[in-house]
Symmetry: none
Subunit: 153 residues, 2 copies
Protein backbone atom coordinates (compact mmCIF):
# COMPACT_ATOMS: atom_id res chain seq x y z
CA UNK A 1 0.00 0.00 0.00
CA UNK A 2 1.31 3.37 -0.97
CA UNK A 3 2.38 5.69 1.82
CA UNK A 4 3.78 9.13 1.08
CA UNK A 5 5.83 10.53 3.94
CA UNK A 6 7.90 13.60 4.76
CA UNK A 7 8.46 16.88 2.92
CA UNK A 8 10.77 17.66 0.01
CA UNK A 9 11.39 20.89 -1.87
CA UNK A 10 12.62 20.62 -5.45
CA UNK A 11 13.37 23.12 -8.16
CA UNK A 12 11.04 23.85 -11.07
CA UNK A 13 13.31 24.39 -14.11
CA UNK A 14 12.58 26.74 -16.99
CA UNK A 15 10.99 23.93 -18.96
CA UNK A 16 8.45 23.51 -16.18
CA UNK A 17 9.88 20.23 -14.98
CA UNK A 18 10.23 19.14 -11.39
CA UNK A 19 11.71 16.00 -9.87
CA UNK A 20 9.24 13.84 -7.99
CA UNK A 21 11.01 12.89 -4.73
CA UNK A 22 12.65 9.50 -5.14
CA UNK A 23 10.95 8.07 -2.08
CA UNK A 24 7.56 9.00 -3.55
CA UNK A 25 8.51 7.37 -6.84
CA UNK A 26 9.52 4.23 -5.03
CA UNK A 27 5.94 3.92 -3.80
CA UNK A 28 4.65 3.99 -7.35
CA UNK A 29 6.89 1.63 -9.30
CA UNK A 30 4.53 -1.32 -9.47
CA UNK A 31 1.69 0.37 -11.29
CA UNK A 32 0.85 0.15 -14.98
CA UNK A 33 1.31 3.86 -15.50
CA UNK A 34 4.73 5.35 -14.74
CA UNK A 35 3.77 8.69 -13.27
CA UNK A 36 1.38 10.58 -11.03
CA UNK A 37 -2.13 12.04 -11.18
CA UNK A 38 -2.73 15.61 -9.99
CA UNK A 39 -5.76 17.71 -9.02
CA UNK A 40 -6.31 21.23 -7.86
CA UNK A 41 -7.21 21.23 -4.21
CA UNK A 42 -10.69 22.60 -3.64
CA UNK A 43 -9.62 23.94 -0.27
CA UNK A 44 -6.11 25.34 -0.60
CA UNK A 45 -3.94 26.90 -3.29
CA UNK A 46 -2.09 23.66 -3.77
CA UNK A 47 -2.16 20.51 -5.88
CA UNK A 48 -3.06 17.04 -4.71
CA UNK A 49 -1.27 13.99 -6.06
CA UNK A 50 -2.34 10.38 -6.26
CA UNK A 51 -1.15 7.08 -7.61
CA UNK A 52 -2.63 6.09 -10.93
CA UNK A 53 -3.76 2.86 -9.32
CA UNK A 54 -5.82 4.92 -6.90
CA UNK A 55 -7.68 6.44 -9.84
CA UNK A 56 -8.35 2.97 -11.18
CA UNK A 57 -9.79 2.05 -7.83
CA UNK A 58 -12.13 5.03 -7.94
CA UNK A 59 -13.11 4.07 -11.46
CA UNK A 60 -14.07 0.62 -10.24
CA UNK A 61 -16.12 2.05 -7.40
CA UNK A 62 -17.98 4.34 -9.76
CA UNK A 63 -19.19 1.24 -11.55
CA UNK A 64 -21.36 0.58 -8.54
CA UNK A 65 -23.52 3.49 -9.59
CA UNK A 66 -26.22 3.11 -12.18
CA UNK A 67 -24.98 3.88 -15.64
CA UNK A 68 -26.05 7.35 -16.75
CA UNK A 69 -27.29 8.27 -13.29
CA UNK A 70 -26.96 11.90 -12.28
CA UNK A 71 -24.65 11.01 -9.40
CA UNK A 72 -22.29 9.04 -11.59
CA UNK A 73 -22.24 11.82 -14.13
CA UNK A 74 -21.50 14.54 -11.56
CA UNK A 75 -18.81 12.58 -9.78
CA UNK A 76 -17.07 11.45 -12.95
CA UNK A 77 -17.03 15.00 -14.32
CA UNK A 78 -15.74 16.50 -11.08
CA UNK A 79 -13.15 13.81 -10.41
CA UNK A 80 -11.86 12.44 -13.70
CA UNK A 81 -12.45 15.56 -15.74
CA UNK A 82 -10.32 17.62 -13.40
CA UNK A 83 -7.51 15.11 -13.10
CA UNK A 84 -4.22 15.55 -14.91
CA UNK A 85 -2.10 12.56 -15.80
CA UNK A 86 1.63 13.24 -15.66
CA UNK A 87 4.17 10.61 -16.74
CA UNK A 88 7.70 11.06 -15.49
CA UNK A 89 10.79 10.91 -17.65
CA UNK A 90 13.77 8.60 -17.22
CA UNK A 91 15.06 10.80 -14.42
CA UNK A 92 11.81 10.92 -12.47
CA UNK A 93 10.67 14.39 -13.48
CA UNK A 94 7.18 15.49 -14.48
CA UNK A 95 6.09 18.49 -16.55
CA UNK A 96 3.69 20.69 -14.63
CA UNK A 97 1.04 22.23 -16.92
CA UNK A 98 1.02 26.02 -16.82
CA UNK A 99 -2.57 26.20 -15.49
CA UNK A 100 -1.56 24.15 -12.47
CA UNK A 101 1.61 26.17 -11.95
CA UNK A 102 -0.41 29.37 -11.91
CA UNK A 103 -3.12 27.96 -9.71
CA UNK A 104 -0.70 26.90 -7.00
CA UNK A 105 1.75 29.77 -7.50
CA UNK A 106 4.74 27.56 -8.14
CA UNK A 107 7.29 30.02 -9.41
CA UNK A 108 10.65 28.38 -8.97
CA UNK A 109 10.34 25.78 -6.26
CA UNK A 110 7.79 23.13 -5.37
CA UNK A 111 7.28 21.55 -1.95
CA UNK A 112 6.06 17.96 -1.92
CA UNK A 113 4.21 17.12 1.28
CA UNK A 114 3.54 13.47 2.04
CA UNK A 115 0.06 12.82 3.41
CA UNK A 116 -0.19 9.07 3.45
CA UNK A 117 -2.31 7.87 0.55
CA UNK A 118 -1.95 11.19 -1.21
CA UNK A 119 0.52 14.04 -1.29
CA UNK A 120 0.32 17.77 -1.89
CA UNK A 121 2.44 20.18 -3.90
CA UNK A 122 2.83 23.72 -2.58
CA UNK A 123 4.68 26.88 -3.27
CA UNK A 124 7.23 26.85 -0.41
CA UNK A 125 6.26 30.28 0.91
CA UNK A 126 2.53 29.54 0.74
CA UNK A 127 3.11 26.28 2.53
CA UNK A 128 4.98 28.01 5.34
CA UNK A 129 1.97 30.23 5.94
CA UNK A 130 -0.33 27.24 5.80
CA UNK A 131 1.77 25.31 8.29
CA UNK A 132 1.78 28.28 10.64
CA UNK A 133 -1.96 28.78 10.41
CA UNK A 134 -2.54 25.10 11.13
CA UNK A 135 -0.31 25.38 14.18
CA UNK A 136 -2.16 28.47 15.42
CA UNK A 137 -5.48 26.75 14.89
CA UNK A 138 -4.42 23.74 16.90
CA UNK A 139 -3.15 26.02 19.65
CA UNK A 140 -6.14 28.38 19.94
CA UNK A 141 -8.77 25.68 19.70
CA UNK A 142 -6.83 23.51 22.09
CA UNK A 143 -7.00 20.55 19.77
CA UNK A 144 -5.75 17.22 20.95
CA UNK A 145 -5.27 13.87 19.35
CA UNK A 146 -7.86 11.34 20.54
CA UNK A 147 -6.53 8.52 22.63
CA UNK A 148 -5.47 5.38 20.87
CA UNK A 149 -3.17 7.07 18.35
CA UNK A 150 0.53 6.88 18.85
CA UNK A 151 1.22 10.29 20.34
CA UNK A 152 3.38 13.24 19.33
CA UNK A 153 6.49 12.87 17.22
Amino acid sequence: MTLFLSTFTNKVDKKGRVSVPASFRAELTDQSFQGIVLFRSNVHACLEGFAYSYMQEIGARLDDFDLFSAEQDDLATAIFGDAVQLPWDGDGRVMLPTELVEFSELNEKATFVGMGRKFQIWSPSVFEARRESARQSVKSKNMTIPKGSGGDK
Copy 2:
Protein backbone atom coordinates in the same frame (compact mmCIF):
# COMPACT_ATOMS: atom_id res chain seq x y z
CA MET B 1 -8.71 -1.44 -18.01
CA THR B 2 -9.56 1.76 -19.79
CA LEU B 3 -9.45 5.00 -17.82
CA PHE B 4 -10.12 8.31 -19.51
CA LEU B 5 -8.65 11.20 -17.51
CA SER B 6 -8.44 14.98 -17.79
CA THR B 7 -9.94 17.34 -20.35
CA PHE B 8 -8.56 18.42 -23.71
CA THR B 9 -9.88 21.02 -26.13
CA ASN B 10 -9.06 20.48 -29.80
CA LYS B 11 -9.94 22.33 -32.95
CA VAL B 12 -12.60 21.23 -35.40
CA ASP B 13 -11.21 22.01 -38.86
CA LYS B 14 -13.29 23.04 -41.85
CA LYS B 15 -13.50 19.45 -43.01
CA GLY B 16 -15.19 18.55 -39.75
CA ARG B 17 -12.25 16.64 -38.35
CA VAL B 18 -11.05 16.61 -34.73
CA SER B 19 -7.99 15.04 -33.18
CA VAL B 20 -8.89 12.53 -30.50
CA PRO B 21 -6.52 13.29 -27.60
CA ALA B 22 -3.49 11.02 -27.80
CA SER B 23 -3.92 9.76 -24.26
CA PHE B 24 -7.49 8.72 -25.06
CA ARG B 25 -6.33 6.93 -28.18
CA ALA B 26 -3.75 5.09 -26.13
CA GLU B 27 -6.58 3.62 -24.06
CA LEU B 28 -8.21 2.28 -27.19
CA THR B 29 -5.35 0.81 -29.20
CA ASP B 30 -5.84 -2.76 -28.11
CA GLN B 31 -9.32 -3.12 -29.52
CA SER B 32 -10.21 -4.62 -32.86
CA PHE B 33 -11.86 -1.43 -34.07
CA GLN B 34 -9.49 1.51 -34.60
CA GLY B 35 -11.70 4.36 -33.55
CA ILE B 36 -14.37 5.51 -31.12
CA VAL B 37 -18.08 4.88 -30.56
CA LEU B 38 -20.24 7.97 -30.06
CA PHE B 39 -23.86 8.74 -29.34
CA ARG B 40 -25.93 11.64 -28.15
CA SER B 41 -26.28 12.10 -24.42
CA ASN B 42 -29.79 11.58 -23.11
CA VAL B 43 -29.24 14.26 -20.52
CA HIS B 44 -26.90 16.95 -21.80
CA ALA B 45 -26.16 18.69 -25.06
CA CYS B 46 -23.03 16.63 -25.48
CA LEU B 47 -21.76 13.43 -27.04
CA GLU B 48 -20.73 10.33 -25.15
CA GLY B 49 -17.82 8.17 -26.21
CA PHE B 50 -17.04 4.61 -25.24
CA ALA B 51 -14.51 1.95 -25.86
CA TYR B 52 -15.96 -0.76 -28.02
CA SER B 53 -15.44 -3.27 -25.23
CA TYR B 54 -17.48 -1.14 -22.85
CA MET B 55 -20.38 -1.18 -25.27
CA GLN B 56 -20.38 -4.94 -24.87
CA GLU B 57 -20.59 -4.57 -21.12
CA ILE B 58 -23.53 -2.20 -21.47
CA GLY B 59 -25.20 -4.87 -23.57
CA ALA B 60 -24.68 -7.34 -20.78
CA ARG B 61 -26.15 -4.98 -18.22
CA LEU B 62 -29.19 -4.45 -20.38
CA ASP B 63 -29.80 -8.17 -20.11
CA ASP B 64 -30.75 -7.59 -16.50
CA PHE B 65 -33.93 -6.03 -17.76
CA ASP B 66 -36.75 -8.14 -19.00
CA LEU B 67 -36.19 -8.91 -22.60
CA PHE B 68 -39.32 -7.20 -23.84
CA SER B 69 -39.78 -4.60 -21.15
CA ALA B 70 -40.48 -1.05 -22.13
CA GLU B 71 -37.35 0.19 -20.38
CA GLN B 72 -35.07 -2.28 -22.08
CA ASP B 73 -36.56 -1.32 -25.39
CA ASP B 74 -36.15 2.38 -24.75
CA LEU B 75 -32.58 2.09 -23.52
CA ALA B 76 -31.49 -0.19 -26.32
CA THR B 77 -32.94 2.19 -28.86
CA ALA B 78 -31.42 5.26 -27.25
CA ILE B 79 -27.98 3.73 -26.86
CA PHE B 80 -27.33 1.16 -29.53
CA GLY B 81 -29.64 2.59 -32.14
CA ASP B 82 -28.06 5.99 -31.81
CA ALA B 83 -24.46 4.85 -31.67
CA VAL B 84 -22.03 5.83 -34.41
CA GLN B 85 -18.71 4.17 -35.09
CA LEU B 86 -16.03 6.63 -36.06
CA PRO B 87 -12.67 5.30 -37.28
CA TRP B 88 -9.73 7.62 -36.93
CA ASP B 89 -7.28 8.39 -39.70
CA GLY B 90 -3.53 7.88 -39.60
CA ASP B 91 -3.12 10.99 -37.50
CA GLY B 92 -5.77 10.10 -34.92
CA ARG B 93 -8.57 12.34 -36.20
CA VAL B 94 -12.24 11.46 -36.56
CA MET B 95 -14.91 13.02 -38.78
CA LEU B 96 -17.87 14.19 -36.72
CA PRO B 97 -21.18 13.69 -38.54
CA THR B 98 -23.14 16.92 -39.01
CA GLU B 99 -26.13 15.72 -36.92
CA LEU B 100 -23.85 15.19 -33.95
CA VAL B 101 -22.08 18.51 -34.48
CA GLU B 102 -25.40 20.32 -34.49
CA PHE B 103 -26.77 18.43 -31.53
CA SER B 104 -23.81 19.31 -29.33
CA GLU B 105 -23.22 22.77 -30.78
CA LEU B 106 -19.62 22.11 -31.75
CA ASN B 107 -18.78 25.08 -33.89
CA GLU B 108 -15.01 25.36 -33.97
CA LYS B 109 -13.68 23.66 -30.89
CA ALA B 110 -14.45 20.42 -29.10
CA THR B 111 -13.72 19.64 -25.45
CA PHE B 112 -12.99 16.02 -24.63
CA VAL B 113 -13.80 15.26 -20.99
CA GLY B 114 -12.40 12.10 -19.42
CA MET B 115 -14.91 10.33 -17.18
CA GLY B 116 -13.23 7.09 -16.34
CA ARG B 117 -14.78 4.36 -18.42
CA LYS B 118 -16.29 6.81 -20.85
CA PHE B 119 -15.69 10.33 -22.09
CA GLN B 120 -17.85 13.19 -23.29
CA ILE B 121 -17.43 15.75 -26.05
CA TRP B 122 -18.71 19.27 -25.41
CA SER B 123 -18.76 22.69 -26.87
CA PRO B 124 -16.15 24.45 -24.67
CA SER B 125 -18.47 27.25 -23.53
CA VAL B 126 -21.33 24.88 -22.74
CA PHE B 127 -19.02 22.65 -20.78
CA GLU B 128 -17.81 25.46 -18.53
CA ALA B 129 -21.32 25.76 -17.11
CA ARG B 130 -21.64 21.99 -16.82
CA ARG B 131 -18.35 21.66 -14.95
CA GLU B 132 -19.44 24.26 -12.44
CA SER B 133 -22.81 22.61 -11.90
CA ALA B 134 -21.14 19.22 -11.40
CA ARG B 135 -18.83 20.67 -8.76
CA GLN B 136 -21.69 22.36 -6.97
CA SER B 137 -23.74 19.21 -7.08
CA VAL B 138 -20.97 17.08 -5.61
CA LYS B 139 -20.36 19.66 -2.93
CA SER B 140 -23.94 20.44 -1.90
CA LYS B 141 -25.27 16.90 -2.02
CA ASN B 142 -22.18 15.72 -0.22
CA MET B 143 -21.61 12.94 -2.71
CA THR B 144 -18.93 10.44 -2.02
CA ILE B 145 -17.52 7.47 -3.77
CA PRO B 146 -18.53 4.24 -2.10
CA LYS B 147 -15.83 2.46 -0.18
CA GLY B 148 -14.65 -0.92 -1.33
CA SER B 149 -16.10 -2.73 -4.31
CA GLY B 150 -19.21 -3.78 -2.41
CA GLY B 151 -22.74 -2.81 -3.26
CA ASP B 152 -23.58 0.33 -1.31
CA LYS B 153 -24.04 3.50 -3.26
